[in-house]
């Protein structure tokens, strides 16, 4: 019987594994990807301080530390079910079953799809897939493409593609329907962009500061939005153009783009056809919590955190005894926050197993560090992240009080 199985070898899972091993727990880390580091591997951006954040190097630091502590880490393993049997967990994988006293789910986030006519053609991919192909596999996604969806993540990845020598024709909005909703409304997109501008990497600051924070200025900016878009890293960003369809027979050959009103409605007869060989769809991220749902965890819908998140404490425990969560499954935030949450989860698990009171102080410090990291985050995915975190904490307290 293992002390703990950690599902996901990203920043959260690896930093948790390090704490578990420091406390001599019998630990197994599994990940379905062939390489370790999770989504850290794709990240490459410049911080406002001018420093570069190189995710591959950050991942290597964590992996090296975990390996120095003789952590059993296995790749290519998909977990398809977790069941609680008596006082332990049975983790079902494509490589058989594993049993453990504790489970940490650190599965991260998934991308939200934005259906567009023609999006099933080869050559259409999510923005995250383009990031992995470019930065991890070093495969050129195409010669010239369009990015659908304007948000902090797509802007950062557009820049990475550009650095990789890929031509980005432009970034445009998805056309409006019940699914794309506020991602297709120029006003809503502008408001979000200007709210995050002060936290985002340097080029974004220049982009956002043009529109200050006043709603009147933002509305005016949408109304008078330049016909040729606003250029960031040499990429034209259009808030008044939306994709109508992706065209091609065997693969992507072109896209049809139309002008839209400030509310996001298509302006008739404004369509233009642009020849491209790939399209990236950027619909944002949501917590990947399937396994927590299968476990019967209670959930809370928290928009600020990206959707449904398993209810958990600040110490990263769920209401299911022995089940812990860390990283983006608890809410969409930066890799640095995920890493510091992993440390908290690792210490919590060690405390449960060893009853070592000296861990209390470490745990307090680690929880404080999550907050400090959040305060200093360069990319904040949602402006009201603190409010969201408070709501989850309150939900956890309610559940545990009823239990007692």
């Amino acid at each position: 019987m293992l002390d703990v199985i950690i599902i996901g070898a990203g920043p959260a899972g690896l930093s948790a594994a390090i704490e578990c091993r420091k406390n001599d727990l019998n630990t197994l880390v599994v990940d379905e990807f062939p390489k370790l580091g999770g989504r850290l591997l794709g990240q490459l951006h410049q911080e406002p301080t001018g420093e570069w954040w190189n995710g591959i190097e950050e991942a290597k630091k964590l992996v090296d530390e975990a390996q120095r502590l003789n952590t059993d880490i296995r790749t290519g393993i998909s977990v398809h079910h977790v069941a609680k049997v008596d006082d332990h967990f049975v983790v079902h994988t494509n490589d058989g079953k594993f049993e453990a006293t504790n489970v940490l789910i650190a599965t991260g986030a998934a991308e939200t799809a934005v259906p567009v006519p023609g999006w099933t053609l080869p050559g259409v991919m999510s923005i995250g897939a383009a990031q992995v192909m470019t930065n991890v596999h070093r495969v050129k996604v195409g010669e010239r493409g369009v990015i659908v969806g304007v948000n902090v993540l797509s802007a950062a990845i557009a820049h990475e593609l550009k650095l990789g020598g890929v031509d980005i024709h432009s970034m445009v909005l998805p056309s409006k329907n019940v699914i794309s909703a506020d991602q297709a409304e120029p006003y809503a997109v502008m408001e979000r962009l200007s709210r995050i501008a002060h936290l985002a990497p340097s080029a974004f600051i220049r982009f956002g500061s043009k529109f200050a924070k006043s709603p009147i200025v933002q509305k005016l900016a949408v109304k008078l939005y330049p016909k040729n878009g606003i250029t960031m890293f040499d990429i034209p960003i259009h808030l008044r153009k939306a994709i109508v369809s992706i065209n091609g027979t065997e693969q992507v050959e072109s896209v049809t783009i139309a002008k839209v009103t400030p509310e996001g409605d298509i302006i008739p007869n404004s369509e233009e056809v642009v020849n491209v060989d790939f399209v990236c769809i950027a619909g944002g991220l949501y917590p990947l919590a399937e396994l927590a749902a299968v476990m019967g965890c209670e959930f809370k819908y928290v928009e600020e955190l990206g959707g449904h998140v398993p209810v958990h404490s600040e110490a990263m425990e769920t209401a299911v005894d022995g089940l812990f969560v860390a990283g983006n499954i608890t809410g969409i935030e930066s890799a640095k926050v995920a890493r510091s949450q992993g440390t908290v989860a690792g210490l919590s698990i060690a405390k449960r197993m060893t009853n070592d009171v000296s861990l209390d102080r470490q745990l307090d410090r680690a929880m404080q560090n999550v907050k400090t990291t959040r305060d200093n985050a360069t990319i904040q995915f949602h402006p009201h992240i603190y409010r969201g975190r408070e709501r989850v904490k309150a939900a956890y307290n309610r559940i545990t009080e009823t239990k007692e």
Binding site: H80, N94, A110, T112, P115, W119, Y286, A293, V294
Partner: protein
């Protein structure tokens, strides 16, 4: 917009989802069963949030704390032999 496919595996369009949801005043589960959206190879991993949004829009509900469509194992595509325990029996 008529040809916007939402569920790629089962090729269910946005129009089909909206019409079905309106006509039968569906629960999330009923919408899934009537249209097969989310019941293909990927198990709804791609279209789940989109199907949820269609329902919220048609029914005018606020998102609730419960995950709209019940999540059931296996949550990843796996081989039948693996599901049957062939590896553990080795």
């Amino acid at each position: 917009m008529k040809n916007t496919i939402v569920c790629r595996c089962e090729e269910v369009t946005l129009e089909q989802l909206e019409q079905t949801a309106k006509q039968f005043n569906c629960s999330p589960r009923e919408l899934k069963l009537r249209t097969r959206a989310g019941m293909g190879f990927c198990g709804g991993r791609t279209c789940r949030p989109a199907v949820d949004k269609v329902l919220l829009n048609v029914t005018d509900l606020r998102p609730s704390d419960n995950v709209p469509l019940k999540v059931q194992p296996p949550v990843r595509p796996i081989s039948l032999s693996s599901l049957g325990g062939a590896i553990d029996d080795k």
